[in-house]
Point group: C2
Chain length 365, copies 2
DNA sequence: GCCTGCCCTGAAATCGTTCTCAGCCCGAGG
DNA sequence: CCTCGGGCTGAGAACGATTTCAGGGCAGGC
């Protein structure tokens, strides 16, 4: 009897191997001497199966190393258990922190995450949404600053409604949006305001603003906060002190060099994210300027590495991990009911990159 | 005529919407007045379809916003176009750089990437492999130091052969392995040797070694290189100067504090990765020690942020992005034929965290 | 006029699950 | 003895694509 079972087992394995394919539920059924239906019931539970039958099936499953085909399952209608995440760039610590938060929740709920890097290209983002819809993901989390472009927004809105129609969700993380879908955002405007107020309180009046790329909602919000604070303090904003970067270290470096080369007068630099602040620091150093003695510098995000810079960077703490967690919870419908728009508070982290302006730091134009 | 088509279109859309499901190939076929077979042929190309028919089908596809169901496709047998990637932690720059390289190649070849964080837990890693096999991914890329545990290795080996049997691949990235499957690794041993030689040349003899966690291949290799260099120079290795970390900033900080507290004498710290070096730097500073004046420090990996530390860290450049790219190319069978084991060269990057030891730095035990 | 071959199109099987119906067997109650 | 119900099991129809096999129609050559 035992020999017989072994023989059958062996047969199934050889057959499988030669076909170069997988063990299926029918193979298990055959070897266990039951129908596929019964195997399915054992696997899924919640249905009466006689104990000996169940044990036999479980044994065969183990022996054959059977693994359910997720595609067949998905096709039949049950959810796929997969969530798509579209970010700008994994190599950017801001996004990798968000993804880490997403993964935490995914792991806790046995979900799989498909990660896509759009590299800030709207066309690429749209393509990924299509691919993810093809994968019938349970949800798509769209992360990062939205492009404020009519055609793009129309396309996204359409995708969001298509997604909803097929029983999936779309969650927007890290940016406001005109799409009426759940959204998790940090209070970017407030952050810009806090930072600028801080600089003004320290006595700075001429502040270089290294902004994000044009047409991004994040750029817009962080800049608005800055202007609000300036306006409130009655400091006139010099448009010549504002320059666009691309949220990368390199672009922060270049923007600062350009500003230096322009001969503009300033005592502080407000970079719209930490990465650009790091680039700015490099450029300032290269120009022989000390931070904060000659020029003060602030960043935005509080990515893990900025506390190891020298001087340690004063910045805005954005709860990136929490943003990821909350987005994922909404995406898979875990946790409590949330309002459609979740605004996460930000916080000023004072470190050592800001000082009162000195005479020496006033470079003449 | 046009009105008629519109009407049919409209019907299909309403029907779909009410069912809360997706547009299928049959819907397209019905609306275009052809069979599903023809639609499939238009979609896939490479088969003669009369031009008017083709145009009509393409029009309906656009109008209904039809997107192929990847699961049905996968089930039918063509590959899934999905690759699974298992890493330790996305929030660790070492891994996010590797993933960035993987994504570059994935994007170029229209592949999707399922990312899994094992958080260095072998059981979790094994679970992910199972899930990915259930997804019938085309390949699995296993990244990060392998756990040197018999049961774990047996399981992985088994998975690798099961994968091969089902026509998928397993690629190992960043670690040697006893599994005979394609592998991409940096020359870790050489890196440890280069770094240690450099320290010895500068006159250091008592070097603290902050190692990785026990039983990891990467830990082993980087330590071996260190010992080889010590042995070659005839410097005796003091086991009291070696301490395990966990490849995290925090653990580097703790290990260094512990070493400091032990009262051991040393003039340099060799951290087995940059993250731990950053932690070590914080601990040294806290103890009032200057780097490199009092204690020299080296790291390993050359993650993007270490060139912005102060002092800029001397380290080993590991081509993380390239490792990711190569792994992915092998995973999807792109690019030229590669040898089974690809060893990528590493390079010493001399910056400012190493100096000759001074009398003052010799702390008495 | 008929046959051959070339385009083009469609019916139906298939992939691996799940789920809806049935149906079997056996014991208990009338 | 018959019926009924409960516990367990199986047959077969989806799900949505691809692919094989089998035509239908038409032009051209005899």
């Amino acid at each position: 009897m035992i020999g017989c079972v072994r023989l059958i087992l062996c047969c199934a394995m050889v057959r499988r191997a030669s076909r170069g394919t997988n063990v299926t539920i029918s193979d298990v059924a055959t070897d266990a001497g039951v129908s596929p239906t019964t195997v399915s019931r054992v696997l899924n539970g919640g249905y009466p199966v006689a104990k000996p039958t169940r044990l036999q099936v479980e044994k065969v499953v183990r022996e054959l190393g059977y693994i359910r085909n997720a595609h067949a399952q998905a096709l039949r209608g049950t959810s796929t258990g997969v969530v798509g995440v579209i970010i700008h760039d994994v190599a950017d610590p801001y996004f990798s922190e968000i993804v880490a938060g997403i993964q935490e929740v995914a792991a806790a709920h046995q979900r799989l995450v498909v990660l896509c890097n759009s590299l800030r290209d709207p066309a690429s983002e749209l393509r990924y949404v299509q691919m993810l819809r093809g994968q019938r993901v349970d949800a798509i989390i769209l992360t990062g600053g939205a492009i404020e472009d009519a055609a793009y927004l129309r396309a996204i809105r359409q995708d969001a409604s298509a997604l909803k129609q097929q029983g999936a969700r779309m969650v927007i993380c890290g940016r406001y949006s005109s799409v009426t879908t759940p959204t998790v955002v940090p209070d970017n405007r407030r952050g810009g305001e806090l930072l600028t107020k801080h600089l003004i309180e320290k006595g700075h009046r001429r502040i270089v603003e290294v902004m994000g790329p044009p047409n991004f909602s994040t750029t817009e919000e962080r800049s608005t906060g800055h202007r609000d604070a300036l306006a409130e303090a009655g400091v006139e904003r010099d448009p010549l002190l504002a320059i666009h970067g691309r949220f990368t270290r390199e672009s922060g470096y270049e923007a600062t060099r350009a500003m230096l080369a322009s001969g503009a007068t300033f005592t502080a630099v407000y970079a719209a994210n930490d990465l650009m602040a790091v680039g700015a620091l490099a450029a300032l150093r290269e120009a022989g300027l000390r931070v904060p003695e000659d020029v003060s510098l602030v960043g935005f995000d509080d990515i893990p590495t900025v506390r190891d810079m020298m001087p340690r960077l004063t910045t805005i703490r954005v709860p990136m991990r929490e943003m990821g967690r909350r987005s994922m919870e909404i995406a898979i419908g875990a946790g409590d009911r949330q309002p459609r728009v979740v605004v996460l508070p930000v916080e000023l982290v004072e470190r050592e990159s800001v000082a009162r302006p000195t005479l020496r730091s006033r470079r003449s134009g």
